[in-house]
Symmetry: C3
Subunit: 343 residues, 3 copies
């Protein structure tokens, strides 16, 4: 039997995500949780982390558990994921060997492995995360993979519920692309789209031509939105996208069609400075809350006046990372190997 | 209301520092302390650390708390501190965003951020530490900044009290510059000076011409010394400086007037090998204890015969780092948000 | 009085190693252990680690202790070990200073410091580990040094006992050299040889000409084997070496006589691809279990068909790292400063 993992954040279902968001808000308010002494979470960070690592460690301690967290470089090295390969290259170890061993040492595994941004099909297969799911006999939590960042999605959902109420059907939420000096993965925008779709929101994605998300993922999100009473649309004009929104989520990402021509994309990106989210753009919205997953490049992605303004929810969302991670772990551990999403 | 932080070690006042030193010696002797379960210290190391990190983690565990410690590179990246800057350069994140988030995850923040040694006015503003003080709603402990190393100062004070008694007024203590292959920040010598001044010692600072400390800091230390019954003088002859001392603290540092001409200083430094502290120099003292904050370059800063001799207090001081950190945290946490220095 | 350390795994004696192996199997089966609250292990990793670090942290938590683990680079820098040296080079700190301080902060020290593979006599002296033993007033556990990897040895022994019973005298065990793109230290093969010798096994070491182990170590292992009813032989034909074996342990290593001519050895190694352990070689054995300490280069050191086959014990051995580390720490701490091997 495969363990119950948390991969793209849709596993609990729409009601389950709402329940976790509500539970996170309860925990933030001081609610007590069950404690799981001597249970251990092993987190493997193949990329750097500040908030995810710290909020997770926090949640683990708050549940009476022990964290074992491996940092990139010193504790966790480059891992091979391709089956059958002759390993005479860079990688000293195969995930086929590392993962079952780590599973012997703990009760929950968690892994961060970003997109490589070199090969579209490889990133689409989310290879490192897929290897964890394939080889692990214990539950796996995705700490941001090539495609998804579901703990961020839970914190986003909890922020929305906190400000806009539990029933988010039809709520106008805008995800807008923003400038950035570097090409970045699409895990966060993918996750915003899927979480908004699960909540039944009316999601608008605004991005310049050429900065498209993966059409397979967009299509899935549109279907999920429809099932939950919402919708997804894409526009290429930022002001049009923000008009009427109750929430504006900003993020930079690299276009799905830009794989293999990053130089061209970089030149294009350099001419898109007017996509920085400023007060002027935010005025198009219905007094929307401003969100960004952090870290954020100030005055590139978003102007100080917005992120420091009264409608900025960024610190609150980041703070909720602690409580949503705790709500998730509490649910997963309390299930004791059974399906945690049926509770 | 601003939280009560520990920045340059003067916050508890002269009597408060003595009390913490005495408490540290009690704890070393086996005294029990209150425990603070589920309280969390978050330590952000933007520079490497051996003793500070380890002794702090030790103190945190001894108080029943949980540590979350972020290491440079993997867990804690280069942070912007300048307000209003367009962040299109090296730094992916601004302290204005990171600090309030970390404060959501813990009860005390601690940060290490060394001097850059490039720009005197920037270092003088202690910019990263200042940002923590500006943006944190919870208490901040300085784990060595551009200007100060107050946990080292507490351990120095506890060492002096242990060997020379509680009343250090008028005690001749010498801080001597020493050779080193690299230019180094002045946080440690600044701290020795301020701590000695608080204790009312008669401090002599011996350094070669050109290796001056910041005159603003020296002036402050002279005033603090006077208030507490002590004095500060500067000499440029090491033997004269050590004559009659009960304590010799060695440390290399880069001259305050040397900002902007490091190459010239390096040539100068290379000709100052006779400032290595040897048994011959120590004979000028009154059977003084030898101190260094560690790590130390043996036979460059100090000869083996001195640091391995019976009057070397280096291991003892480093050991006291554990107990002084514990005494400090105990005091801060027991105050529960009130002024911990009025107890 | 010197503390009781765990350096090459022979310290408990043959019966003691068997007892620890049996205890590890009990602990794996759910046996309870004494708990040692507020006892602290300080682990200094001067080289990267995945399994050793994680299994050790696991054992520490399972015993109710606290881990303080320093990672290479950020937390633990390059340390000088040579007495009397003028430290004007790379190393900012001498182990003579660092070790006594770390000992003030914990109850057990542990250290990982690999062979440099540049100077045979230096590696033979196991300089960093030797410095820990020289300067530490508290017990030291070797987490893999230039010469030994005794926690791996304990897990190997527990695996053998688990599959072949407690009395391993005369059991045919083969250690075979295997190809690898890089020159590697001999700590693991040395350890396999010493552990097999302690258990009284009949050990065959198969390696190509030129890939000899240190003759001093081989000689010691032969003597230990004889004392315990076993034997050690060396062959240069892999199939001959594997014939009749009940266990095949694979590992690559660099030849002891290869110090100072690594380029020549690399060319030699490149022609030895037929030493990869495949099903064909394993057929020569008596249905042997296959072992490797991990990380392993698949299809270079060993074919997928072997490591993924029903006789592969690699994951089990790695899983036992947790329980053998726990058994060892339990024994050492329960002795409370007395000789833990006389219990």
């Amino acid at each position: 039997m495969k363990p119950y993992s948390f991969v793209d954040g849709s596993e609990p279902g729409a009601q389950g995500v709402r329940d976790l968001a509500l539970r996170a808000l309860e925990l933030r308010g001081g609610a007590k949780s069950e404690r799981f002494p001597d249970q251990r979470l092993i987190g493997v960070f193949l990329n750097p982390s500040l908030r995810t690592r710290t909020s997770l460690e926090c949640a683990v301690y708050d549940l009476g558990m022990h964290p074992i967290l491996l940092s990139p470089g010193a504790d966790a090295w480059k891992m091979e994921h391709r089956p059958g390969v002759v390993m005479d290259g860079d990688c000293p170890e195969h995930l086929a060997d590392a993962i079952p061993v780590l599973a012997e040492y703990g009760d929950v595994l968690a892994v961060r492995a970003f997109a490589g941004l070199r090969d579209a099909e490889e990133d689409r297969s989310d290879p490192v995360l897929a290897a964890f799911l394939k080889y692990s006999p214990i539950p796996v939590i995705n700490l941001e993979s090539a495609l998804w960042h579901p703990l961020q999605g839970l914190a986003d959902a909890a922020t929305w519920v906190s400000h806009l109420g539990e029933d988010l059907r039809g709520t106008p939420i805008t995800l807008t692309w923003a400038p950035h000096p570097k090409a970045l993965p699409a895990a966060v925008p993918n996750q915003v789209a899927l979480t908004a779709a699960l909540m039944g929101a009316n999601l608008t994605i605004a991005h310049p031509e050429g900065f498209d998300l993966d059409p397979l993922i967009l299509n899935r999100c549109a279907n999920v939105a429809t099932e939950n009473g919402g919708s997804v649309r894409v526009v290429h004009d930022q002001r049009e996208g923000i008009r009427g929104a109750r929430v504006v989520v900003a993020k930079s990402w690299s276009g799905f069609s830009g794989y293999g021509r990053r130089d061209e994309e970089a030149e294009h990106r350099a001419r898109l400075g007017d996509w920085t989210v400023t007060a002027s753009q935010m005025k198009m919205s219905e007094n929307a809350g401003f969100m960004h997953c952090l870290p954020v490049r100030r005055n590139v992605v978003v102007a100080d006046e917005v992120i420091d303004g009264p409608n900025s929810w960024t610190t609150e969302t980041a703070g909720l990372r602690r409580w949503t991670a705790m709500a998730l772990l509490e649910r997963m551990l309390a299930a004791r190997g059974e399906n945690p999403w049926n509770a």
